[in-house]
Each structure stands twice: as structure tokens, then as C-alpha cells.
């Protein structure tokens, strides 16, 4: 699978949605809905473990696991301070030999993060598509409260189809 994971982070830095494409274990896959205090610990450990397999990203993700709620908020803040450019707007892309992390931050502070195969193209378009899917199936659902974990069936389904389309269209691996 060329797209490994999708994460959505709210303004406060809390993870409100996670989808792992490469891990077929059912119990890990859809654990994206928690209250923000207790279960987050376990969730953080899981994130660390999955990222522990990749080198070169340790520093950033150690911060992710320490700071409970301010998860990606901190990563972003550090990212913009680490940037050699003045006035950086945070992490847009992080590349390692195992994967590329793409991030899109909206003007309203929501962050969409996609982990994909380094050869996967068209991730920018995919991020915009995920933003549209979020604005449709999460926000237009009146029973979904803003900033809370996303538990909308339609959002899941549409996200998965968007990922499938992106994978078919984008990757230039052998045999495609």
C-alpha cells in the first residue's frame, strides 16, 4: 500500500482522526476516537512504536509522545523554529528513506497529515481532497462537534475511496 496513514489534528494539537492503511490488524486500525486524557497514553505508545521502525524521525516523535494533548501542536511549533526560513508556517513535508510525511494546515488551524511511500505522487491533491471530505462528511454532520474525534461512517468510507483512487493514480512503482 503506498499510502500508509492519514491523521487529522485539531487546532489545540489533539489527534481527532487516525487511519492506518498498512497495518491490517483490526484492533489497531480504528482506534481514533478517545477522550483526550486517559486513553491517549496508550495511543501515544502505539504511535511511537509505529514510528520507531523508521529512522531519522525519532526527535520529532519523541515530542509527540510526551506531550499528551499538545501532540502535533508541539511538533509543528518545533518544526517552524527548526526551519532555516524565517516565518515558516510549520512542517509541510518530512522525507525519510522509508516514507514521506506530508502535512497540510488549513487557515483555521486543522492539520491533515498523510504518510505515504516516497514514490507516491499527487499527495497534495489528496490532502486537498481529504479537506473537502472533512468539510462534507464531518462538518456537515450536525451531530459532529468541532474539535472532537471524528466518528462518522461516511467520512471513513469516503476517505478510504479517496485513498484508493490516489494510490491507483499516483504511484510509479514497478508493475503499475
Amino acid at each position: 500500500m503506498a499510502i500508509f496513514s492519514v491523521y487529522v489534528v485539531n487546532k489545540a494539537g489533539g489527534l481527532i482522526y487516525q487511519y492506518d492503511n498498512y497495518v491490517p490488524r483490526a484492533e489497531v486500525e480504528k482506534t481514533f476516537s478517545f477522550p483526550l486524557d486517559l486513553v491517549l497514553k496508550i495511543h501515544d505508545e502505539k504511535v511511537v512504536v509505529s514510528f520507531g521502525q523508521r529512522d531519522g524521525i525519532r526527535v520529532g516523535h519523541a515530542v509527540l509522545s510526551i506531550n499528551g494533548v499538545d501532540v502535533n501542536g508541539k511538533l509543528f511549533a518545533i518544526g517552524s523554529q527548526l526551519s532555516p526560513e524565517v516565518g515558516s508556517s510549520g512542517i509541510e513535508m518530512l522525507e525519510t528513506d522509508m516514507f514521506k510525511l506530508h502535512c497540510f494546515q488549513t487557515l483555521t488551524g486543522i492539520k491533515f497529515i498523510v504518510l505515504a511511500d516516497p514514490r507516491q505522487s499527487g499527495v497534495d491533491g489528496l490532502l486537498r481532497k481529504i479537506y473537502e471530505i472533512y468539510s462534507d462528511f464531518a462538518l456537515k454532520n450536525p451531530f459532529y462537534s468541532l474539535e472532537m474525534p471524528i466518528r462518522c461512517e461516511l467520512f471513513d468510507q469516503n476517505l478510504k475511496s479517496a485513498l484508493e483512487i490516489a494510490e491507483k493514480a499516483g504511484t510509479f512503482g514497478p508493475g503499475s
Binding site: 509543528f76 511549533a77 518544526g79 517552524s80 510549520g90 486537498r128 462538518l139 469516503n158
Partner: protein, 180 residues
Amino acid sequence: MSRQSNRTTDSKKMNSELFTLTYGALVTQLCKDYENDEEVNKQLDKMGYNIGVRLIEDFLARSSVGRCHDFRETADVIAKVAFKMYLGITPSVTNWSPAGDEFSLILESNPLVDFVELPDNHSTLVYSNLLCGVLRGALEMVQMAVDVRFAQDTLRGDNVTEIRMKFIKRIEENLPVGDE
């Protein structure tokens, strides 16, 4: 604007009269429930706010506007892009204050009030107050605190409908990291 293929791609057009009827049913029910115009105005504003905070993401996802650099740009985007996209009308932007922090949107027509007449016992009702809430909620999500109110209303005898928007301040605490 493209939609998912699992939706009916052609009929984004809904009968606008159904929309007017729906809004009218909403307002009259609120009037029955609260029996007080001021309270109804407040509720409409709250409901509008809830719509605005969600609508802004849809707007940003579908239009390709970036961050506005000043309030004038914001005014233009609201009038020419947002109103056109959602209500099919393009209000004009006028009456800028000398400090550039306040302006008016003049609406020649208002789809919410087609066929509506305000009775005498509801003279203080701001029928379209939902719009004020929507604008306030949407701008708050892009870190702008604004005050929005109706300065003129055709339902109350004025010639045009005028929405007055005043910039209060930038909301700093929730600013996405890296924005200045």
C-alpha cells in the same frame, strides 16, 4: 465545485423557495417558542454562528482563496466569492470607516426574505439575523473577531438591506503556528 460521484452530481440545485420556506418555518417556530423578539434574534445569531464555523471549512476547501492580508480583502472575498457561492447574490461593499475597520454590505435582494412581511408585533425582530451569526462564526475560525449587525432591513421599511461589519481584533491565541 466538484462533488463525490456517490452524490447526485446534477441536482445541487434545490428549489430556493423550499429554502425560504424552511427558514421561515424556523423563525416562526422560534417566535412561538421564545415569544420575545430579542431572544429570537439571539437564537438566530447562535444558530448562524454554528453554521458559520462549519461553513468556513467548506468555503476554504472549495474556493482557492488564501489568507486575506487586510480587512478590505476580507470584505471583497465575502461579497464577491462567499455570498455568490452560497446565496447566489453579490452584495456591494461600501461605507468604509476612515480607519478602514468597518464597512457595509448592501444587499439588493435577500433570498431568505422572499415573500416575507413582518407583522407589527414583531417590529424588533431581525429576521435574517442568522446571516450575522454565520459571518461572525466563519471569521472567528480564521482568527478575526468581528461585530456584525443589520443597519438597514427592507423588512422594516428601509430601501435596502445593509449589513454593517466591524473588525474588532485578531484572535491571537488560536493562531496556527507560523502565521503572523
